[in-house]
């Protein structure tokens, strides 16, 4: 009734920033030459960070586009990883168990997210409650992974073989470099597909969910269905990333689903930029790389610095580094008609 609430929600940001294409190609070029320039260790470790990046992307499409925050992405990642581990443990599937692992990882993540999402969104559960429930989902997954040790190896975790990259039995594509480019390819393709999807009508409706749910309902959209679909897709991407991670890192443990790792994903995305798929991807890779080095040199303070950085980003830089670069770019470029 009151006219006082006509204050505009200050969120004039689209789902993408100008210049993201150029930045994405630059990153791709960098990643293509990196293993040849930077050496074996990079070729070994970088794929894991790229998959963290893919995990972050799965959150960006929720948080940045739809406006839903999930603290449960790690659960889908872990479930995908265990799915890969279980598939690789079967010696005679009759076809390439690595690809079966990737498919079942994505399927498991997507299914769990879809069922959870449908269950909650159809009841119109509040955004804050959604965070709490997805957090609980991570904790449950971790506990199940610990307690079902005959399947998962419990606390000790589970060793996973490297997958055979050739789709047919007895292929000869192998080694760190091959796996590196396989991971890079998967991440790049998923990223590109997601960019395309978010620019499509479907993505536009998702952005509408973020901006104004009431208006969208009044236009005749079933927003619970859109949210469920988005969450299922996000879970599938996280599951795929987890499955590929398992075979890349050769090891899965319950902590992949834990509270700490769940939080990490949110922190990467907040710092990298929640409104940009590329921002999340780069944020995850940079922060994870920095974590790796700094937790070795200053283990005590690194997590603290990350916590403080997270808080500062939430207070001062809603769009993280991607937002800062985008604003910088706009200032340098001659103003377009806007």
């Amino acid at each position: 009734m009151s006219h006082a609430n006509s204050t505009i929600k200050r969120r004039p940001r689209a789902a993408h920033f100008g210049g993201e294409n150029a930045a994405a190609f630059a990153l791709l070029a960098l990643l293509v030459v990196a293993p040849f320039v930077a050496g074996d260790y990079i070729a070994y470790i970088l794929p894991q960070y790229m998959l963290y990046g893919l995990l972050a992307v799965s959150l960006v499409m929720l948080w940045g586009v739809v406006g839903i925050v999930s603290f449960g992405q790690a659960a889908f990642f872990a479930i995908g990883a265990y799915a890969m581990g279980l598939c690789m443990g079967q010696s005679d599937l009759g076809f390439n168990s690595g690809y079966a692992g990737l498919a079942s990882g994505a399927l498991a993540g997507g299914l769990l997210a879809g069922v959870t999402g449908w269950f909650l969104f159809s009841a119109g559960v509040k955004a804050t409650y959604f965070v709490l429930i997805t957090l609980a989902l991570s904790i449950i997954t971790e506990q199940v992974a610990v307690s079902q040790s005959q399947l998962t190896g419990g606390f000790n975790g589970m060793f996973v073989n490297r997958m055979a990259l050739s789709p047919f039995e007895g292929g000869a594509i192998a080694g760190d470099i091959a796996l590196y480019f396989f991971v890079l390819g998967v991440v790049a393709v998923v990223y590109a597909l997601l960019r395309w999807l978010m620019a499509s009508s479907f993505g536009t409706v998702l952005a509408g969910v973020r901006e104004n749910e009431d208006r969208l309902t009044a236009l005749g959209y079933r927003i619970d269905q859109y949210k469920t679909l988005a969450f299922a897709l996000s879970g599938a991407i996280a599951g795929l990333a987890g499955a590929l991670y398992a075979t890349t890192a050769s090891f899965v443990s319950p902590s992949l689903a834990g509270v700490l790792f769940s939080t990490q994903v949110v922190v990467w995305v907040a710092i990298g930029g929640r409104s940009s798929l590329l921002g999340g991807l780069v944020g995850a890779m940079v922060v994870a790389t920095a974590s790796n080095y700094l937790s070795a040199t200053m283990p005590q303070y690194w997590q603290l610095i990350l916590g403080v950085a997270f808080m500062l980003v939430i207070i001062f830089f809603k769009d993280g580094f991607a937002g800062m670069f985008a604003r910088l770019g706009q200032r340098l470029r001659p103003r377009e008609v806007s």
């Binding site: 009734m1 004039p12 689209a14 309902t217 806007s338």
Partner: protein, 240 residues
Amino acid sequence: MSALLQTQGLGKTFRGLAANADIDFAIEPRSIHCVIGPNGAGKTTFLSMISGHLAPSSGRIFYNNADITRLATVARARSGIARKFQTPSVFHGLTTRTNIELAALRGSGSRGERRARIDEVLETIGLSAQAQRLAAHLSHGQRQWLEIGMLLAMQAKVLLLDEPAAGMTAGETAATGALLQKLVAERGLAIIVIEHNMDFIRDLDAEITVLHLGRVIANGRFDEIAADPRVADVYLGQQA
């Protein structure tokens, strides 16, 4: 001939208080029908029951001769009943064109037809030049038009407009009135308008229903209503 949209004995009680009681109302295609009344008369409650945002306590609603009393908001929107809210409800973070596009996706037709419809709607509501601006950067009046444009783009048959001229300059108000008349004449829409602005109502030259304390106290054209002593009482009583 039967009305496009009709209510019979429609009522709504909040905790024992009747916000709407026994409202019989009907609107034909190709017409405007204004609902006026002092603050608290139950105008928005009435509109909310038609749009499905509130469930009636009594009475029935018919649309195209079908009973839609229990139909969900989404289903009503899909069948062509579209609502503009009291405070403009648009997608602030998206461009004007994308706002219209989201509505156009609900309508029928191929991709090309949709694009043509978006352009045509932008033209109709006078926001073609603003197509690439964020809705957050539009003026209040422009946002009102944008919301009406969305209802057009989704190819609604009945528009429910809650204070479409609120916060507009005199010029914008007149333009809005002309726009509504044009929509009725050219597209055959049925438009229900809630308004406080009496100049706007007079210029619309339409059928008027006056609500007071949730009940219909008068029906008629502007001059009849203006001459009705009960209506004068209600409005004067408010001012005293």
